[in-house]
């Protein structure tokens, strides 16, 4: 397979942008990524979109087609991938394969999203019967998404003695990391006391420990060696990327199911753990080699659990790591140095593309206001509805 490089990255700041249609957000991010690479549509041989189910895409999830029909009708392949919150990682994997196979030299990736207000609605056409978990969980028990994360957090309190203060510290770290990040939506610093004083949503999770929803867009231009001499800086290589789905017997409380079969020896959140292991294996490195982890922090609990699930630290060790500053930008593992989902608000399909943008800025030394010094290896990890996991390893 041919090596694949990140030629350019770009993002539209996260926030609420009612005046900007999704396609406009996408074009802003793509324009920024192309400018970053010093290339243009003329060099792009394919576009992969992480497709939204909320807006645009001609109602059929044809976001890549909609974009080229809007801005440059040049006959290139347009590939639209689903994967809910993991769609961005699946799009990166797809673009990587198009280049690594030798079929194409430069392929762009985009994710753009404007999130509906309040709870995410069920998709049209779903059956109101027991065969639809996303119906069953509401009518039978009213289980919100935070309730699923809270069940995991409460169990962690029981197993490892995690305290409310430590869980609050995870949310504080994300805000501290976001303070200097112009792309983040929430940048005001927080204290542990403020997190614990925010309303309890689903015990033990407070409002400020749960990621809100936002609008945002991110884009990448991936390319082969052919373009390296045209990019004026140290190249960042896609050293590994992988997509995974869930394993039978996984003990994670997977949204929106109401029950699961639990078998010994099966990884928790196996769709993400499997993707991470394959991506690291492809890169020829171990979890201990990771300098920066960009991970999906849908809640503060995820920040404690995921580094353990990936084998970066031992089970139960995250509390100590967090309390001793080892997950800070100057620690052993920089955890979401740009602020994570808690500081951005999730713009579902765009989020995993943004993770790769952030890792690229960090590895190049261009993460102004939030730079991790000397980072050489970045790992992304994301989870999507439908037991979708995705992971990317970048190296410089």
């Amino acid at each position: 397979m041919k090596p694949v490089y990140v030629l350019g990255v770009g993002a539209h700041p996260w926030g609420k942008w009612p005046q900007k249609p999704q396609v406009t957000l996408a074009l802003d991010a793509l324009r920024a990524a192309f400018a970053d690479a010093g290339l243009g549509w003329q060099q792009v041989e394919g576009l992969v979109a992480a497709s939204s189910r909320f807006e645009g895409g001609m109602g059929w999830g044809l976001h890549a087609n909609e974009i080229v029909q809007t801005v440059s009708e040049q006959g290139i392949p347009c590939i639209n991938v689903g994967g809910a919150c993991a769609a961005g990682a699946i799009a990166v994997q797809t673009a990587w394969a198009m280049i690594a196979s030798g079929q194409h030299e430069a392929v762009a990736v985009v994710g753009a999203e404007r999130m509906p207000k309040g709870f995410i609605p069920r998709p049209p056409g779903s059956q109101d019967d027991i065969g639809d978990s996303d119906y069953l969980r509401w009518v039978a028990m009213g289980a919100t998404n935070p309730a699923y994360w809270a069940l995991e957090a409460q169990r962690r309190f029981h197993e490892f003695g995690t305290t409310p203060e430590t869980l609050a510290l995870a949310a504080v770290l994300m805000r501290n990391n976001a303070a200097g990040n112009p792309y983040a939506r929430y940048r005001e610093p927080l204290t542990v006391a403020e997190v614990l004083a925010s309303p309890m949503v689903s015990d033990p999770l407070h409002l400020l420990q749960i990621c809100p929803v936002s609008d945002g867009a991110a884009a990448l231009l991936l390319g082969s060696e052919r373009f390296l001499d045209r990019v004026a800086r140290d190249p960042v290589q896609v050293a590994g990327c992988a997509v995974g789905s869930g394993q039978f017997g996984d003990p994670a409380r997977r949204i929106p199911t109401i029950a699961n079969n639990v078998l010994p020896g099966v990884a928790h959140t196996s769709e993400v753990v499997g993707a991470v292991q394959r991506a690291l294996g492809m890169a020829g490195i171990g979890p201990g080699d990771v300098d920066i982890l960009e991970m999906a922090d849908n809640s503060a609990w995820h920040l404690l659990a995921w580094p353990e699930l990936f084998g970066i630290v031992e089970p139960g060790q995250s509390d100590w790591m967090l309390a001793h500053g080892r997950y800070a930008r100057d620690g052993d593992l920089a955890l979401n140095p740009g602020g994570g989902f808690l500081s951005f608000g999730e713009a579902t399909t765009a989020q995993a593309v943004l993770q790769v943008c952030e890792l690229t800025w960090q590895l190049r030394g261009e993460a102004e206001g939030r730079q991790v010094s000397g980072a050489k290896v970045g790992l992304s990890a994301v989870l999507g509805l439908g037991a979708n996991g995705g992971s990317v390893v970048l190296k410089r």
């Binding site: 309040g118 709870f119 069920r122 019967d129 027991i130 065969g131 119906y135 069953l136 969980r137 509401w138 009518v139 039978a140 028990m141 009213g142 289980a143 919100t144 309730a147 809270a150 069940l151 995991e152 409460q154 169990r155 029981h158 309303p199 309890m200 949503v201 689903s202 015990d203 033990p204 999770l205 039978f248 003990p251 409380r253 109401i258 029950a259 699961n260 079969n261 639990v262 078998l263």
Partner: protein
């Protein structure tokens, strides 16, 4: 119609002479027990995938819990809403099942407590009468889960 009862969704549970039971399935090929009833056995090592109906007694231990402090969106219908507990219950059949908790003081719920299945009215509807769901309540019988 108010004296009639129905379940919140068809195929979820039944109410028998010995109390409420969950509608589950067991795979003839690999012995895996599923709730709710699936379309197919999901075990990748199983090639038979022939499912039979089975009812679950629903006695187990509380694996985790949370308190819902905000009213869920409108698909969830409940009369006299107030914050309530949701539990994750480990059943001896190798399944963890989520459900509302009943009969617990919200401040003193403890992981590891023994619970049993009960049937309770969520709301009353002019068409459907008393609409029931399953919940897990403290099991004071002292009987260990099988």
């Amino acid at each position: 119609m108010l004296d009639q009862t129905s379940f919140v969704v068809d195929g979820l549970m039944v109410e028998g002479p010995d109390g409420a039971r969950l509608c589950a399935s067991v795979c003839d090929g690999c012995g895996t027990v599923y709730f709710p009833r699936p379309v197919s056995c999901r075990n990748p090592e199983c090639s038979s995938k022939a499912l039979q109906d089975r009812l679950l007694e629903g006695r187990g231990t509380l694996y985790s819990f949370t308190i819902q402090r905000y009213q869920p969106p409108a698909l969830f219908r409940i009369d006299n809403w107030a914050p309530y507990a949701l539990g994750l219950v480990e059943l001896p059949e190798g399944i963890r099942v989520m459900g509302m908790l009943s009969g617990f003081d919200l401040d003193t719920i403890r992981i590891g407590e023994r619970v049993k299945l009960v049937s309770e009215c969520l709301f009353t509807d002019p068409e459907r009468g008393r609409v029931m769901t399953y919940k897990f309540a403290p099991d004071i019988s002292g009987r260990a889960p099988r």
